[in-house]
C-alpha cells in the first residue's frame, strides 16, 4: 500500500507533504503541552519494535498468502494518537531511506495514508468508542478488527486518489478502486485479528500496562470535529494545488487524462513552458528522423503515416530524443566512472 515516487506527480506529492508536515508539527506541539519524560524512550523502542515486528511474516490459514502487522492500532493504544503518529512516521522515514520503500516525494503520502487514518481516525473514533481502555475481550476484538479494516480502507482509497490525481499511471479510477479496496479489506480484517491477539496477550501477562497506557492516551483535542477539519484541510490543499497547476499547464493534467481515455485530439496548447518546448521540438524533430527510416524510398508515404501516428509532437519522446537520451545516459555513466577512478586514484 505504499505510494512510489515513480507514480506520483510533484503537485500531489508536495500537497501531501504539506499536510503531513502540518500533522507532524501539530502532533509535536500537542506532545509538548503534555510533558511525559518516559515517553521519549518508549516511543523510540516501540518504533524499533514495530519495525522489527513488521518483518515477521505469518501465514494466513486457508489462503496461501502471508501477512504482517501494520502496528498503528497497537501504537495508538499504547501511546495515544499524537505520539503514535510520530512513531509511525519515524518508522516510515527509515523505511523510505534505508529500504527504498517507495520514495522521498511519496513519503508524505505514505505517512498520511498509513498514519493519519489509523491514529487520528480509526483509533479515536472506532477503537476507543468500542473498547475504551477496558479489558473486555470481545470489545477489544471487535474494536481491533473494525478499526484496522477502516484504517486500511481509507488508506488504500487515499492511494488510489493520489495515484489517479498524479496522472502517471494509466490505471483508471474504477479499476484501481476495484483492485485495492477488496484486497485491503481482507488485509485489514486479518490485521485486526492479529492486533487483538497481541493486545490481549499483553493484557493477560501485564494488565497494568494498558492501565498506564490509558493515562497516556487521554484523547485531548482529537474529536470528530478536529478530524474532519484535518481531512477538509487535506482536501482543500490538494485540490487547490492541483487546480492551480492544471490552470497554469492545461496540457499536463487534462491531456494525460485525455490520453488515458484514448482520444487522439490534443487540447489546444496552453501558455507557458510546454508550448515553447512544443515549438522547439517540432522544429528539431523533423530533420534527424529521416535518417532513421530503414527504407528511405517512400519518404512521402512514410511522412504521412508518421504524422498520423504522431498526433502530439510536443509531448513524449521523439526517436531522436531516444537516441539523444541513450547518449546522455552513456555520458552520465562515463562521467560517473571517471569520477570514481579519480577519487580512487586520489586515495
Amino acid at each position: 500500500m505504499h505510494m512510489a515516487d515513480a507514480l506520483i506527480s510533484p503537485e500531489v506529492g508536495g500537497a501531501m507533504w504539506a499536510v503531513t508536515a502540518g500533522l507532524v508539527a501539530w502532533s509535536a506541539k500537542k506532545l509538548k503541552e503534555d510533558p511525559d519524560e518516559g515517553r521519549i524512550p518508549l516511543m523510540g523502542v516501540l518504533g524499533a519494535f514495530i519495525f522489527a515486528a513488521q518483518m515477521i511474516n505469518f501465514s494466513i490459514p486457508a489462503t496461501g498468502s502471508s501477512g504482517h502487522l501494520g502496528g498503528g492500532m497497537i501504537l495508538a493504544a499504547l501511546l495515544g494518537p499524537y505520539a503514535a503518529f510520530l512513531t509511525l512516521a519515524s518508522v516510515l522515514v527509515v523505511q523510505a531511506l534505508f529500504f527504498a520503500d517507495g520514495g522521498l516525494l511519496a513519503l508524505g503520502c505514505n505517512i498520511f495514508n498509513m498514519g493519519f487514518f489509523s491514529c487520528f481516525v480509526a483509533y479515536p473514533l472506532i477503537y476507543r468508542l468500542i473498547a475504551g481502555t477496558g479489558r473486555n475481550r470481545n470489545r477489544i476484538l471487535a474494536a481491533s478488527v473494525l478499526s484496522s479494516a477502516a484504517a486500511l480502507q481509507l488508506g488504500a482509497f487515499s492511494v488510489v486518489l493520489q495515484t489517479v490525481a498524479s496522472g502517471i499511471s494509466a490505471l483508471p479510477f474504477g479499476t484501481f478502486v476495484l483492485l485495492m479496496q477488496p484486497i485491503h479489506l481482507a488485509i485489514g480484517i486479518v490485521e485486526g485479528f492479529v492486533t487483538a491477539g497481541v493486545i490481549l496477550f499483553v493484557l493477560k501477562a501485564r494488565p497494568e500496562v494498558l492501565e498506564a497506557a490509558g493515562d497516556r492516551t487521554r484523547l485531548r483535542g482529537v474529536s470528530l470535529r478536529t478530524v474532519l477539519a484535518g481531512l477538509a484541510a487535506a482536501a482543500v490543499l490538494t485540490g487547490g494545488v492541483l487546480s492551480w497547476f492544471a490552470s497554469a499547464y492545461p496540457d499536463g493534467l487534462e491531456w494525460s487524462i485525455a490520453k488515458t481515455t484514448g482520444s487522439e485530439e490534443l487540447a489546444s496548447p496552453g501558455e507557458g513552458i510546454h508550448s515553447t518546448l512544443a515549438g522547439l521540438q517540432e522544429k528539431t524533430a523533423i530533420l534527424p528522423d529521416y535518417g532513421f527510416r530503414a527504407g528511405s524510398g517512400d519518404d512521402g508515404a512514410a511522412e504521412a503515416s508518421e504524422e498520423a501516428a504522431w498526433p502530439n509532437p510536443d509531448m513524449g519522446t521523439t526517436v531522436s530524443g531516444l537516441a539523444g537520451g541513450a547518449m546522455t545516459l552513456a555520458l552520465a555513466g562515463l562521467i560517473g566512472f571517471a569520477l570514481r577512478r579519480s577519487a580512487g586514484a586520489r586515495k
Partner: protein, 270 residues
Amino acid sequence: MSGSIERNLSALAETSDAPGSGMVKSLDPRAKILVTLMFVVAVTSFGKYEVSRLMPFALYPAAMAGLSGVSPGRVLKRTLIAAPFILLVGLFNPLFDRAPLLRIGPLVLTGGWMSFFSIIARSFLAVSAAVLLVFTTRFDSLCLGLERLGTPRVFVVQLLFLWRYIVLFMEEARRMVRAHTLRSWGNRPKISPKVFVSMTGTLLLRTLDRAGRVYRAMRARGFEGEIRMLRPLSFSPSRDGLFLLVWGGYFLVCRLVNLPEFLFRAAAGP
C-alpha cells in the same frame, strides 16, 4: 513493509556507516537533503510520456556515486527492491493506454508503453537519489540536518532513538524466528497467526521493559525532560552553497531544455 529479516539487517548494516567517502561525505547534510529533494521534484514533474528527457538526470546519481566511491552495483541493487510493485502497477499502462505515440521504423510504441518506460526511468532515478543520500550521509547527521531545516525536535529525537535501537530489535526478532524454525518441520516453516501473536506479544513485553530500563538510565544521568546534544553543523557557502547552486541549476536546465535532442543534433551535426 515486510521482508526477510536477514536481508534487511544486511541492508541496514551496509548503509549505516555511510560507506561513501571523501568530499561528498563532508558536505553539510542540509545541502545534500535539499539537492535530493530538488532532484526528485524535477524528475517527477515531467509529463507521463517523457523518457529521453529524464536521461540527463542520471548524471546526478552517477556523479555522486563516482565522487563518493559508492559502487553503482550496490545502488542498483537497492533500487531494484521496490521494483516489483512499481512494475506491477506500471504494466497496467500499456493495457489501458493504446494510442500509438511513436514510430521507430516498423515498431510502433503506444502511449502506454512510453509511460511505462517513463515510470521505470523515474523509479530508478528517484530511488537512486534517495539511496545515495543514505549512502553518503550517516543517519544521525541526516536527522540533525533535518532539524536545522525545521523538523520538530521531538520527531528528530524519535528518529535518532529509533535508529539506535532498530538493529537490536531486528536481531531479537531474528532470534525468535530462528528458534521457531529450529522447532518446526519443513524447509521454510510458516508462522501461524497464533504463534505470531505470542512472538510479537513477547517482543512487545520485552520492549516495554526495555523502555523502563532506558528511562532509568536516562534519569540516572540527570535527564529531566530535554535531550541535549552537542552537534554543531557548519554550512560553508563556498562548498555547500556551490553544491546547491550547481546541481539546482543543472536540474533546472534539464527540466526546461530538451538536452538529448540538442545533444543528438549537435552530434549528428551537418
